[in-house]
């Protein structure tokens, strides 16, 4: 429910305007976000073309080299002598790839269920609502622990689990948008001419919903990268020898006394991506998407 705050709503004229929400705004966060993200893009896209060592190649003689010392290993090497920069780059690609897959699954499930719930309403709506409440109740770490105990931890299991759990946000927004569109003339008129509900939703409601959902989805990639790296840290996600920022930090934590760079460097990469997306998204969520999302809350 949005409340229009007129100037009469505030007590005693002439007082300073009070904060309406607690969120940074303006264009500064957006530029910070773009800056942080460009460095990650460089890391993932450009680094593989540099003449560096293979991310899997071990070299115990050169192990535990600190960064900025040798030109052949610009960011140093890990405990097995593998090149940190090329591992960071590959790990970033893996993380973003996984997150994009997860978001794609979430998106399809969430939009489908949300449109059905919002368009049809009634019993289906309450059913889908109950399903999404169940999703919210189970912490994904605990859920993945349970599934990993049965099937053994793997990247596929993590992708499927995250894909099947994080769709609730999309469903809520899609539902709210569909409810608002349901009775509009351009949706009703195809029905009066004999069009089926399915076709009407697909050709007339979906295109109205997609742009906003796509904005949310692209920013969710960073959220999922954060969650995914936590799961990698616990050993429930990407399995060695494939590098991931989370697992690199687990590994580096053992050598925190000797070579803290093994934690700091993947930490910086993770921060750049997650923080960059977060700052960039604040620009968009506060200005264009927020009103619709607000309306989505029941």
């Amino acid at each position: 429910m949005t409340v229009a705050v007129s100037r009469f709503a505030l007590p005693a004229l002439g007082r300073r305007r009070r904060p309406r929400t607690l969120r940074p705004s303006g264009t500064v966060p957006m530029y910070i976000g773009i800056g942080l993200l460009s460095s990650i893009v460089l890391l993932i896209v450009v680094v593989p073309f540099l003449p560096l060592y293979d991310p899997f190649g071990q070299d115990l003689v050169d192990a535990m080299m600190p960064p900025f010392v040798a030109a052949e290993h610009p960011l140093g090497t890990d405990s097995l002598g593998r090149d940190v920069l090329s591992r960071l780059s590959l790990a970033g690609l893996v993380s973003v790839g996984i997150a994009a897959t997860v978001v794609a699954i979430n998106f399809v499930i969430g939009v489908t269920l949300g449109l059905i719930a919002g368009y049809r309403g009634g019993l289906l709506d309450s059913g889908i609502g109950a399903l999404s409440d169940v999703q919210l109740a189970m912490p994904v770490v605990i859920l993945l622990i349970a599934l990993s105990a049965v099937f053994g931890p793997s990247t596929q299991l993590m992708v499927i689990t995250l894909g099947l759990t994080y769709w609730v946000g999309y469903a809520r927004v899609a539902r709210a948008l569909a409810m608002g569109l349901r009775d509009r003339d351009f949706v009703v008129s195809p029905l009066t001419q004999g069009g089926s509900h399915g076709r009407t939703v697909f050709t007339h409601v979906l295109p109205q919903v997609l742009p906003q959902m796509a904005v949310i989805a692209s920013f969710d990639i960073a959220v999922i990268v954060g969650i995914e790296s936590s799961l990698d840290y616990l050993g429930l996600g990407v399995q060695p020898p494939v590098p991931s920022w989370g697992a690199m930090i687990t590994e580096g934590q053992k050598y925190l006394q000797i070579n803290p760079w093994l934690v700091i460097l993947p930490g910086i990469a993770l921060f750049l991506l997650v923080a960059g997306m977060q700052f960039l998204s604040q620009r968009f969520t506060t200005e264009s998407v927020a009103p619709a999302r607000k309306g989505a809350r029941r």
């Binding site: 904060p19 929400t21 969650i227 790296s229 993770l270 921060f271 923080a275």
Partner: protein, 305 residues
């Protein structure tokens, strides 16, 4: 009110039962555990005997009936590895985990509450902006990374605090700081926008109109109304906080439930994990029961509906 409470308790029991049932069948998806648990060279007889001892030779429905009967005697099955009731392995660890979770939650929510009130009563915009930026930064760092960084700075560099295990109260500082800062950032934002939404309401204008002071309008009128949505979300988040506890326990080698559960994953010891699911479900349901009761006592519309 009694009917309302009874209905809520009923819903809570159904939820716990559903989680346990789903968990039970999930555990049966991987088939009989004998071949996975016993060492490589075990003979077929040994594997069969192992499975039979755990009741895996019976038909599935009978296993489920036995499982339900076990629930009434307070067991979810024995650990495959350690041959003791799985719940017992967790029960010893519950206090450590809850210490961590409840301290972080109380400090995070309490501080956020106080600071949000301070901001709204004093209208200190600079404080709002400063905390917003800090909160945004904190939320951009996953818990595990923040924990490792805390350990690096305060334990490795400064040597002020222990970073591993439980060596007395000072061991609690870093893990709680790690979780509480995230909780603080989350709740400051939630309470801030909940209070912000109240500002334009008619009842607030009416309070000002009858001459109530700004401080008393914020504290006595707006806060209870703003608390209802915040508490509801807090209840839902506490389940997630237990997930966060698992991660932070791993960072600081804190001897809680999370450590047992992660070991159980490596050992494919499903009954232990099922016991963990049971504890989380009961905790989650209890917390939300309490939240519902508090909400009902603040907001009469809830209990009369």
């Amino acid at each position: 009110m009694p009917i309302y409470i009874a209905r809520k308790i009923g819903q809570a029991l159904v939820t716990v039962f559903a989680v346990l049932t789903i968990g039970f069948f999930l555990g049966r998806l991987s088939g009989k555990p004998g071949a996975l648990i016993l060492p490589e060279g075990a003979t077929q007889q040994e594997i069969d005997a192992f499975n039979a001892a755990l009741g895996f030779d019976k038909p599935l429905w009978q296993q489920y009936v036995d499982f339900l009967a076990g629930l009434f005697t307070g067991t979810v099955g024995d650990s495959y590895r350690q041959k003791v009731p799985a719940l017992d392995l967790l029960v010893d660890r519950i206090p450590a985990t809850f210490q961590l979770a409840i301290a972080s939650f109380a400090i995070g929510l309490g501080a956020a509450m106080l600071v949000a009130l301070l901001i709204f009563v004093t209208r200190w915009n600079w404080l709002r902006l400063a905390l917003l930026w800090l909160g945004s930064l904190r939320q951009a760092i996953p818990d595990f990374l923040f924990g490792v960084l805390l350990a690096f700075v305060f334990s490795v560099l400064l040597g002020w605090l222990p970073s591993l295990g439980n060596q007395g109260p000072q061991s609690l500082v870093l893990p709680v700081a790690c979780l509480a800062t995230a909780q603080f950032a989350l709740y400051l934002r939630l309470i801030g926008s909940a209070l912000g939404e109240q500002q334009g309401m008619d009842y607030v204008r009416a309070s000002y109109a009858k001459g109530q002071s700004h401080r008393s309008v914020v504290v006595a009128q707006m806060t209870p109304n703003a608390l209802v949505p915040v508490l509801t979300i807090a209840g839902l988040n506490l389940g997630g906080l237990l997930g966060g506890t698992v991660i932070v326990e791993a960072v600081f080698a804190w001897p809680g439930m999370g450590q047992v559960l992660l070991q159980a994953v490596n050992g494919r010891d499903f009954p232990v994990v099922l016991a963990g699911l049971a504890v989380v479900a009961v905790f989650f349901v209890l917390v939300n029961l309490i939240v519902d009761l508090i909400t009902a006592s603040i907001d009469p519309r809830v209990r009369l509906a």
